[in-house]
C-alpha cells in the first residue's frame, strides 16, 4: 500500500477511536509548549508526546487546535507585515511546453519547469522575498482554491522550496481554473 493510502487509512482509524478505550490525561501547559515548538518546527515531537496523540482523541483535539492557533498567529504576522498571500495568474493556454514564471506577487515567485517534452511531469520551484523569508521559516504551503496542496515544507536559508508536481493533470491547466495562495504550513 502506498504512503497516501496508508495515511488515509490511519486517519480513518484514528477518527473512530474512542476516548473511553484509551483514557489519557488531558494535555497540560508543558505539553502545549512542546507542541508549539514542534508545530513551529523549532524541535521534533518527542516519542511520548506522539504516543499520547496517537492514543487519545481528546489530546489530538487539543493538538489540532494548537496547530490552528499557530497558523492563525502566522497569518496575523504576515498581514501585519503587509504580505499579500494570493498569487494571481491569468493567461491563455499555451500549446508549447516551456517553463512558466509567475511573478505577480512581490513576496514570492513560482516557476513551473517541465521535465519532459509532453508536459506530463513538472517541477515546482517557489522563491520567497527577503522580507517574507523570516516570517515563513516555520513552514508554508502553496494551495489552490480547491484546497489541493501544490507544495509544502520549510523554505531553505535562501527562501527556496521545490518539489515535483504530484497532483493529477497538468499544473498549467489548473492555473487556468484555480487561484493559488500561500498559507502557513
Amino acid at each position: 500500500m502506498n504512503g497516501n493510502k496508508q495515511l488515509k487509512l490511519l486517519a480513518a482509524l484514528l477518527a473512530i477511536q474512542e476516548d473511553a478505550l484509551a483514557p489519557t490525561a488531558a494535555a497540560d501547559a508543558c505539553d502545549e509548549v512542546h507542541w508549539q515548538e514542534a508545530l513551529t518546527r523549532k524541535s521534533a515531537l518527542r516519542g511520548n508526546a506522539r504516543k499520547a496523540l496517537l492514543h487519545s482523541p481528546q489530546t489530538r483535539r487539543q493538538f489540532y487546535f494548537m496547530a490552528d492557533v499557530t497558523r492563525a498567529e502566522a497569518y496575523a504576522r504576515w498581514k501585519q507585515a503587509g504580505i499579500e498571500t494570493a498569487l494571481r495568474y491569468r493567461a491563455a493556454a499555451s500549446p508549447t511546453v516551456e517553463p512558466l514564471k509567475i511573478e505577480s506577487n512581490p513576496h514570492f515567485t513560482l516557476i513551473l519547469f517541465p521535465l519532459d517534452d509532453e508536459g506530463k511531469t513538472w517541477n515546482l520551484y517557489l522563491k520567497l522575498s527577503a522580507a517574507f523569508r523570516p516570517l515563513a521559516s516555520a513552514g508554508i504551503r502553496l494551495v489552490d482554491d480547491r484546497g489541493e496542496v501544490w507544495l509544502a515544507g520549510q523554505p531553505d536559508a535562501d527562501g527556496e522550496l521545490s518539489s515535483d508536481w504530484q497532483l493529477e493533470g497538468s499544473p498549467l491547466e489548473r492555473l487556468l481554473q484555480h487561484q493559488l495562495q500561500i498559507q502557513p504550513g
Binding site: 500500500m1 504512503g3 493510502k5 496508508q6 495515511l7 488515509k8 487509512l9 490511519l10 486517519a11 480513518a12 482509524l13 484514528l14 477518527a15 473512530i16 477511536q17 478505550l21 484509551a22 488531558a26 514542534a38 515531537l45 506522539r50 496523540l53 496517537l54 492514543h55 482523541p57 489530538r60 483535539r61 493538538f63 489540532y64 487546535f65 496547530a67 490552528d68 492557533v69 497558523r71 492563525a72 498567529e73 502566522a74 497569518y75 496575523a76 504576515w78 498581514k79 501585519q80 498571500t85 504551503r141 482554491d145 484546497g147 496542496v149 509544502a152 498559507q183 502557513p184
Partner: protein, 302 residues
C-alpha cells in the same frame, strides 16, 4: 441583539421554554453522566479542581449534543439549542453552584436507586442550583441586573457580524479559519473594539463554538491528514499498520479498500451493479468495513 434573540432571552414564556429545554438536557438525559462521576470520585480526586474539570467535560458533552441539534435542525429547535449552548459556556460557574450542594446531592444520589424520594431530591437539588445559574446568565445577556454586556454570547454575535463584514469585503468566504481568526484580530485591533478577544486563540475558540464545520475539523482526523503525516505517521506506526492489515482476512481487507478508496476499484451508482460485481451488497460492505476498522484499531493499540 436581533428580535429572535430578544424573544429567547427576554420573553417570559421563551425563558421558561429555554429553561425547560435545559432541564431536560441537564437533569433528565445527562444527570447520570454527571453524578456518576462527581459522586464516586477516585481516590484523591475530590478537590474542587477535579469537580471543575468533571463539570467542564460534562458541559462539553452537552455542547456537542447541542451542536448536532443545531446542525440538523434549522427551525425553532435549532434556535433554542443555539441559545442553550451559549448558557453552557461558563462551566466554572456551574461547578461553583454544584459545589454548594455537593454533599446533600451525593448523599441522595447514593440512595436514589432504593428510594424514589431520593431520586426526586437529586433532581431538585441539581436543578435548583443549575436553573438559578442559567437564569442569572440570561439576565446578564439581557443587561438586566447590572450585567456587563460582555457575555460570551454577545461577543460571539459581534464576532459573527464582523466575520460577515470581512467576507463581504474580500468577496468570498474564508476557506481557512486560521486566516479568518487573524483578520478578525487585526480588525478588532484596528477598530479598538472593547470587550472583544485579544488573541487568535480566543477568537478561534469562539469560531469553533459558533461553527459546526470548524468544530468538526477538530474531531475528524480525516481532515487533518497533513498533521498526521508530519507528526504521527512515523515509519514504526506505518509498519505496525501494515502488519495489522496482514492479520485481517482477505474479505475484510477488500471491504476496507472499497470503503476508503484504497485501491482503484470501479464505482457503482446502483447496489444491484455493486452486488453483481463483488457478490455482496452495501450493508455487508458497511459491516465488514466496520469490523475491519475495529480490528485494526485494536491491533494498533497493542
Amino acid at each position: 441583539m436581533n428580535n429572535q434573540e430578544e424573544w429567547l432571552y427576554q420573553g417570559i414564556v421563551a425563558r421558561r421554554r429555554l429553561l425547560a429545554y435545559l432541564r431536560r438536557l441537564c437533569v433528565v438525559h445527562h444527570r447520570e453522566a454527571l453524578l456518576s462521576r462527581i459522586c464516586v470520585p477516585c481516590a484523591g480526586d475530590s478537590s474542587s479542581i477535579a469537580l471543575a474539570q468533571t463539570v467542564k467535560a460534562w458541559g462539553e458533552e452537552l455542547q456537542r449534543e447541542l451542536e448536532s441539534v443545531i446542525r440538523s435542525a434549522l427551525d425553532e429547535r435549532g434556535q433554542i439549542a443555539r441559545a442553550a449552548i451559549g448558557l453552557l459556556f461558563d462551566s466554572a460557574g456551574q461547578a461553583q453552584v454544584i459545589a454548594s450542594v455537593l454533599e446533600p446531592l451525593c448523599t441522595a444520589y447514593r440512595h436514589h436507586r432504593e428510594r424514589l424520594a431520593d431520586e426526586r431530591r437529586v433532581e431538585q437539588l441539581l436543578w435548583n442550583v443549575l436553573s438559578q445559574h442559567f437564569k442569572d446568565k440570561m439576565d446578564q445577556l439581557d443587561g438586566f441586573g447590572g450585567g456587563p454586556g460582555s457575555h460570551q454570547l454577545q461577543v460571539l454575535r459581534r464576532i459573527e457580524q464582523l466575520s460577515r463584514e470581512l467576507e463581504q469585503r474580500r468577496g468570498k468566504p474564508y476557506a481557512d479559519f486560521a486566516e479568518l481568526a487573524a483578520d478578525l484580530l487585526l480588525e478588532i485591533q484596528a477598530r479598538a473594539m472593547s470587550n472583544m478577544p485579544r488573541t487568535v486563540a480566543t477568537i478561534l475558540e469562539y469560531l469553533y463554538a459558533s461553527n459546526a464545520r470548524a468544530a468538526e475539523s477538530l474531531d475528524d482526523d480525516t481532515q487533518r491528514i497533513e498533521l498526521i503525516a508530519e507528526f504521527l505517521a512515523t515509519p514504526d506506526v506505518l509498519i505496525q499498520l501494515e502488519q495489522c492489515l496482514e492479520q485481517l482476512s482477505s474479505e475484510l481487507r477488500q471491504a476496507l479498500a472499497i470503503k476508503f478508496g484504497l485501491e482503484r476499484e470501479p464505482a457503482f451508482l446502483r447496489e444491484i451493479d455493486f452486488k453483481n460485481h463483488y457478490g455482496f451488497g452495501w450493508e455487508t460492505l458497511r459491516k465488514r468495513a466496520d469490523q475491519a476498522r475495529r480490528l485494526l484499531a485494536d491491533c494498533l493499540r497493542e
